[in-house]
C-alpha cells in the first residue's frame, strides 16, 4: 500500500518537473538564461564609481523584474582593479560573472600593474558616460580655459590637482586637453591626490591652482553659492542641469573631448548566447523609469553600446591613451 502510494506521489512530482526541464532545454538552444544568481563584481571598495554602478544596476534590474535571477553585488578591491581582474580572468567561460569597468581597465595595464587588460575579457555593454571638468576657485583670475593654459605656458610649475595617480584618468584628461591646446602634455604639473574630494578641498583652500575631476562629482559643488568656477567640460555638447552654463572645450577652440565611460564586461570567452542575453538585459534596463530616475540623480548620461561596438570602442581608447601616455613619458 505504502509503496504504491509513494510511487504515485513520485510520478505526480516527476512529470511536471520533466516538462519544465524539457522546456528549459529547448530554450537554451537559442535563448540562454542564467540558471543561478549572477556575481556582479565591483573591482573596488564600496563607495566609488564602479561600486555605485554595480549597486544601482543590480537594484534597478531587480526592482523592474527584468531578470529571473538575482544580481549579487560583490566588492573585490585591490590594485585599482588588478586583484579582481586576476580573479575573473581565471574563471574563463563562466556565464554567471560580470564586472563593472571604465577607463582604468585600459590605463592600469598600460601602467604595468595588471597582467590582464580589456582584451582578456568579454565586452558586454557600455552603459553610461560622465565627462571631466576643469575647476578653479571663484576668486581665481582665470576666466576661461585659454587663460589657464596661457598662464601654464608662462609658469610651468603651476599645479593642477586631480583625484588619481599619474598616468590614470584625471591625469590623462588634463594632459590630453593641454596637449590639444598646444602645450606639452608632460609640462602639466599634475598633483595626484587620493580622491576627487581631497583634490577639491585643496582647491578651495588655494593649495593648487586648478583641479580636474568628474563633471558628475562636481555638479553638487557648482551652484549659486559656489566657491568654485568651472572653466570647461570635456563633453562634445553642453551638459544639462547645474552644468548648463559651462562651455565645452570645443567651444573655446580646443578640439578635444574626453569620456569617462562606464560599462559591463564578463569573464574571458563568455558564451555568445550569454553575451546576447546580458546585452539585451542592459539595453532593456536603460529604458526603465527606475533607471532614468537613478541616472539623473547621479548625473550620469546614457551611452549604450552593445558588445561588438563596445569592444571596438575599447580598442580605439587604448590607442588614444597609449598616445598620451607616451607623450607624458609614462610608457616607453
Amino acid at each position: 500500500m505504502t509503496a504504491k502510494f509513494t510511487s504515485r506521489g513520485l510520478t505526480a512530482i516527476v512529470l511536471p518537473l520533466a516538462a519544465l526541464t524539457g522546456l528549459a532545454g529547448t530554450a537554451q538552444a537559442d535563448d540562454w538564461t542564467p540558471t543561478r544568481s549572477i556575481e556582479f563584481i565591483a573591482p573596488a571598495n564600496p563607495g566609488g564609481g564602479w561600486d555605485t554602478l554595480v549597486r544601482t544596476t543590480s537594484r534597478v534590474i531587480q526592482q523592474e523584474g527584468l531578470a529571473d535571477q538575482n544580481f549579487a553585488a560583490i566588492n573585490v578591491p585591490g590594485g585599482g582593479g588588478a586583484v579582481a581582474w586576476a580573479q575573473i580572468a581565471g574563471d574563463s567561460g563562466n556565464p554567471h560573472k560580470l564586472f563593472a569597468t571604465s577607463p582604468p581597465i585600459i590605463l592600469v595595464p598600460l601602467a604595468g600593474t595588471s597582467r590582464y587588460d580589456h582584451t582578456d575579457f568579454t565586452p558586454i555593454a557600455r552603459l553610461i558616460t560622465d565627462y571631466s571638468i576643469v575647476l578653479v576657485p571663484m576668486d581665481s583670475e582665470y576666466q576661461d580655459l585659454n587663460d589657464l593654459f596661457d598662464a601654464m605656458r608662462e609658469s610651468p610649475s603651476m599645479s593642477v590637482g586631480g583625484g588619481s595617480a599619474p598616468g590614470s584618468m584625471d591625469h590623462i584628461a588634463i594632459a590630453g586637453v593641454a596637449s590639444a591646446a598646444g602645450l606639452e602634455a608632460s609640462g602639466v604639473n599634475y598633483i595626484a591626490f587620493s580622491g576627487g574630494g581631497e583634490a577639491m578641498t585643496n582647491l578651495m583652500g588655494g593649495h593648487v591652482e586648478a583641479v580636474i575631476t568628474g563633471a558628475g562629482e562636481a555638479a553638487g559643488q557648482l551652484g549659486p553659492d559656489s566657491q568654485l568656477r568651472a572653466l570647461g567640460v570635456s563633453s562634445p555638447e553642453r551638459m544639462g542641469g547645474p552644468l548648463a552654463d559651462v562651455p565645452t572645450y570645443q567651444e573655446q577652440g580646443i578640439d578635444y573631448t574626453f569620456d569617462i565611460w562606464r560599462g559591463v564586461m564578463g569573464t574571458p570567452d563568455m558564451p555568445a548566447e550569454a553575451v546576447a542575453y546580458y546585452e539585451d538585459l542592459f539595453a532593456q534596463m536603460l529604458e526603465t523609469e527606475g533607471w532614468q530616475e537613478a541616472r539623473d540623480q547621479l548625473g550620469w548620461l546614457d551611452a549604450y553600446q552593445n558588445s561588438e561596438e563596445f569592444g571596438a570602442f575599447l580598442d580605439a581608447q587604448k590607442e588614444e591613451f597609449s598616445g598620451v601616455l607616451t607623450e607624458l613619458g609614462l610608457i616607453r
Binding site: 549597486r55 537594484r59 599645479s159 585643496n202
Partner: protein, 498 residues
C-alpha cells in the same frame, strides 16, 4: 538664537516616530557592527544604500549616521575585552583598556569608554551645530604642507608611546613606516615592495596589522605562557561605578580630547584613528602619572574614546558644508545622499535644512540612546571574559579571521594576519612596544604623500613648510615636544646645583 530655532526645527524632524526608530535601529546596528572586529562602518553603510534609496533623505542620513557613530561607540568593547580593535578608531583604547580588563576592571573600563564616548560625541555635536559653516574654512586651510607638519607632530608621540626603551620604540616606528610604503606610490605610480603580487598593490590594510599585532599576538602570548588558564582576577568584571575622585580625574582628559578629536575629524583625511592617537599621547604627556599609561590608567581609556567619537562627528563638517568626503565612511555617505537626490555642499543649508538640522538633532538623541543602551549591557558583554580560556582564545581567533576575511575576501590577508600575529609575539617577547608601529603605519603614508605633494607644488622649495604659518607652528610645537623632555632633566639638574 537662530541656531536654537534651527535646532528646534531639527528636533521636530528627528522626533518623528519613524525617525526615532531609525536612530535607534542605526545606533543599535552600529554598536554591534563596531564590536565585531573587521566589520567596519564602511561596508555596513554600503550594504544599506539600497535600503535607504526609497527613504526620505533626512531619514536615510539619520539612519546611516547612527550606524557610523554607533560603530565608533561600540568598537571600544572588543578593544577593551579582547585587545582586538573593533574599528580602526578604537585601537588606542586597547592600550589602557585591555590592561584594565586584565586587572579585573573590565566593567569600569567599559563604563568610562561609554561616558567618554557620550561626552565626546555630545560636545562635538554642539561644535558641529554652532560653527560648522565657519569650520569649513579650517578644513580647507590644510593643504599638503600643513598635513605634513601635522603628521610630524603626530609622530613625535612615538617618544611617549615607547615605554622603556626609546630605541626599541623608534625601531618599531620605522618598521611601521616601512609597512605603510607598500603598494602603488600615488605620486609616481611606481609599485613599491609588492614583490610582483597583485594583493600588495594597495598595501596592507591597517586593521590586518592592528588585529595581528594586538589581538593575535595576545592569543599567542597566552598560549605560550600556558598553565591551564587559571587567572582568577582576569575573570572578574569588577564594578561599573566610578568614584568621585575618578570622575574628577577623567573630566579634564575627556573635555580636552573632545575638542582635539573634533578638530582632527574636521580635517579631511585625518579622522577618528589619528584623533584618538593624538588624544591619547597628549594626555600621556601632560599627565602627572604619565608613566602608568599603558598599564591600565583610566585616563588612557577616556582620552581616545572621547577623541574618536568627537572626530566621527567632526568628519560630518566637510561632508555637510563642503560636500566633500573626509574619509572612506563619509564617502559612502556622500554617495548615498547623491542617490537620494541631495547634494551636500554650501547650498544644502539653504536647500535642504531638514537634512542638515534633522541629522544634527538626531545625533543628540542617538548619543543618549547609545549611553542608555550600552551601560546596562556592560555586565552582559563583559561576561565574555568569564568564558573558559580555551574558548575565549578560540573566539578571539575566529573574530579576527572572520573580520579580516570579511574586509577583502582573500585568504592572503589571513596569512598576513597570522604573520603579524607572530611579529607581534616576537615584539612582546623582546620588549618592543607595538603602539609606535601602529602610529607610524597610520601616519607614515599621509606624511610621505603630503611632503612630496607640497614639494611638487612649491617646485622643490623646502621653505614651503615654514612659509605657511599653520605648518610652521605645527612644526615648532613638534620640535618643542621633542626637546622639552630633554631639557626638563637638564633644568632640574641646573636648579639643583644652584
Amino acid at each position: 538664537m537662530e541656531a536654537l530655532n534651527n535646532l528646534m526645527f531639527g528636533f521636530g524632524i528627528a522626533l518623528e516616530p519613524m525617525n526615532i526608530a531609525y536612530v535607534f535601529g542605526g545606533v543599535f546596528a552600529g554598536t554591534i557592527i563596531g564590536m565585531l572586529p573587521g566589520l567596519g562602518p564602511i561596508s555596513a553603510l554600503a550594504l544599506m544604500i539600497p535600503i535607504t534609496f526609497a527613504m526620505e533623505p533626512s531619514s536615510g542620513l539619520i539612519l546611516m549616521a547612527g550606524v557610523y557613530y554607533g560603530a565608533i561607540f561600540g568598537g571600544s568593547s572588543s578593544s577593551i575585552l579582547l585587545n582586538a580593535p573593533g574599528v580602526a578608531g578604537t585601537v588606542a583604547t586597547s592600550f589602557d583598556g585591555y590592561p584594565m580588563a586584565k586587572q579585573g576592571m573590565a566593567g569600569k573600563a567599559l563604563a568610562i569608554a561609554a561616558y567618554a564616548s557620550f561626552v565626546g560625541g555630545t560636545i562635538s555635536i554642539v561644535f558641529l551645530m554652532m560653527v560648522a559653516p565657519l569650520l569649513s574654512r579650517v578644513a580647507v586651510a590644510f593643504g599638503p604642507a600643513e598635513y605634513f607638519a601635522l603628521m610630524v607632530l603626530g609622530l613625535t608621540a612615538v617618544v611617549s608611546l615607547s615605554d622603556k626603551s626609546l630605541v626599541k620604540g623608534l625601531i618599531a616606528a620605522v618598521v611601521g613606516i616601512m609597512i605603510s610604503i607598500i603598494g602603488i606610490d600615488l605620486q609616481t605610480g611606481t609599485v613599491r615592495f609588492a614583490f610582483g603580487s597583485a594583493h600588495l598593490l594597495d598595501g596592507i590594510d591597517f586593521l590586518v596589522v592592528a588585529l595581528g599585532i594586538f589581538a593575535l599576538a595576545e592569543v599567542f602570548y597566552m598560549l605560550l605562557r600556558g598553565g591551564g588558564g587559571k587567572e582568577p582576577e582576569r575573570n572578574a568584571i569588577g564594578s561599573l561605578k566610578l568614584t568621585r575622585h575618578e570622575v574628577r580625574e577623567i573630566a579634564g582628559p575627556i573635555s580636552r580630547s573632545s575638542v582635539l578629536g573634533f578638530f582632527t575629524g574636521v580635517l579631511p583625511g585625518a579622522g577618528a584613528t589619528i584623533g584618538s592617537f593624538l588624544g591619547y599621547s597628549m594626555e600621556k604627556r601632560i599627565a602627572k602619572d604619565g608613566d602608568t599609561f599603558g598599564k591600565g590608567n583610566i585616563k588612557g581609556v577616556a582620552a581616545p574614546e572621547a577623541a574618536n567619537n568627537a572626530a566621527c562627528t567632526g568628519s560630518f563638517v566637510p561632508l555637510l558644508t563642503l560636500g566633500v568626503p573626509g574619509s572612506g565612511t563619509t564617502a559612502v555617505l556622500l554617495g548615498a545622499l547623491l542617490v537620494m537626490g541631495v547634494s551636500p555642499g554650501p547650498a544644502m543649508l539653504v536647500d535642504r535644512p531638514d537634512v542638515f538640522w534633522g541629522v544634527i538633532a538626531s545625533m543628540y538623541i542617538g548619543n543618549i540612546m547609545l549611553l542608555v543602551l550600552n551601560l546596562p549591557l556592560i555586565p552582559y558583554i563583559a561576561k565574555i571574559l568569564e568564558m573558559p580560556r580555551p574558548l575565549l582564545l578560540s573566539l578571539i581567533l575566529i573574530f579576527c579571521m572572520v573580520g579580516v576575511y570579511g574586509m577583502s575576501f582573500t585568504v592572503v590577508d589571513l596569512l598576513f594576519l597570522l604573520g603579524f600575529g607572530l611579529v607581534g609575539l616576537g615584539m612582546r617577547l623582546f620588549g618592543f612596544p607595538a603602539a609606535p608601529l601602529i602610529l607610524a603605519l597610520i601616519l607614515g603614508s599621509i606624511m610621505e604623500e603630503s611632503m612630496r605633494r607640497a614639494l611638487q607644488i612649491s617646485g622643490g622649495d623646502w621653505m614651503t613648510f615654514i612659509d605657511k604659518p599653520i605648518s610652521m607652528w605645527l612644526l615648532i610645537i613638534a620640535a618643542l615636544s621633542l626637546l622639552l623632555p630633554l631639557v626638563k632633566p637638564l633644568m632640574r639638574k641646573l636648579r639643583a646645583r644652584a
